[in-house]
């Protein structure tokens, strides 16, 4: 992933309008940048603390669970990566977006990251399959996938999407937005009902 031509200076008045935009859309949390395992823990912790104390513990746990899957997907699959060296250790940082907001009676848990276009079909096939399933079918699919050897092209257990779908109270939503001829921005939204 190439650094896009963002040479224009960021104007301070734009920053305020960005904040206003997020506020108008009831975004509770918004982060765009490199994600690491430590950040997963910290963001999870902040979200747990910042969501209304009155919220059901189960609802918070579901949001947390979706966030962890989304952030670990960014770590594994985002093609926006930067590598470096710290001491003797090589590190790789993957970038993506994580957001939590309020949508009516639901919390929305959103992630976004850049992917290669060649992975689009695989992602949408898997998501469409899960989205089309009822709860019972999702459960069976989850149990089957859990026993399956991971897809050779997949770096994870292949369970992230189904886990999110089962924690969500409405079907997952996703979108690919073209970035350049080889890449797209993959955004994913899970809604978690405020009432468990």
């Amino acid at each position: 992933m190439m650094m896009s031509e963002q040479k224009e200076r960021i104007m301070l008045d734009k920053i305020f309008s960005m904040v206003e935009y997020l506020k108008a859309h009831e975004m509770v949390f918004w982060y765009n940048g490199p994600v690491s395992q430590v950040l997963v823990v910290e963001i999870g912790d902040i979200i747990k603390k910042s969501i209304d104390e009155d919220s059901d513990k189960k609802v918070i746990n579901r949001i947390f669970s979706i966030l962890v899957e989304q952030m670990q997907n960014i770590i594994k699959y985002s093609v926006q990566k930067k590598s470096g060296k710290e001491g003797g250790d090589v590190f790789i940082l993957s970038s993506g977006l994580i957001a939590v907001g309020i949508e009516g009676n639901d919390f929305s848990v959103i992630s976004g990251n850049v992917i290669c276009n060649e992975d689009k079909d695989r992602i949408s096939q898997r998501l469409d399959l899960i989205i089309g399933m009822d709860r019972e079918a999702q459960k069976e699919y989850y149990k089957t996938m859990r026993r399956k050897e991971p897809d050779p092209q997949s770096k994870g257990a292949g369970l992230g999407f189904i886990e999110m779908a089962r924690k969500a109270s409405k079907p997952l939503e996703y979108l690919f937005t073209p970035v350049d001829e080889n890449h797209s921005f993959f955004s994913l939204k899970a809604l978690v009902s405020m009432e468990s």
Binding site: V40, N61, V68, Q72
Partner: protein
Amino acid sequence: MDDLIINPTRFTPGIYFYFSKHTLEISGESYPENTSEFYTPIFELLRNYLAGITDQVVTVTLYLTYFNSSSSKILINLFDLLEESASESKNITVNWLYKEGDTDAREFGEEFAEDLEFLAFKLVCVEN
């Protein structure tokens, strides 16, 4: 065989394998970036332990307040390992602990239990 004790971190559970007392416990949260890196050496020891036991009463306690999807896959591997020993008439009981009111955690336990035949799998509610 020496006991295996690993203290919990913010994203890996505590491992309390008292092989000498035949009580094994995993408790805490489990969502490491690389699950097999964390669990493979632990399961290696467990495999050796299971191969060496005969009619001892073994109690395995799992109290995971959160685990990610790849840890869920690891748990299946753990239960398969225990199930195999149980099918050889070894006396193994798993206690799946969940917090009172946490129906999601209870359901996870139920779903694991559905896949097991020989292993005694008990759901235990922990009162708040």
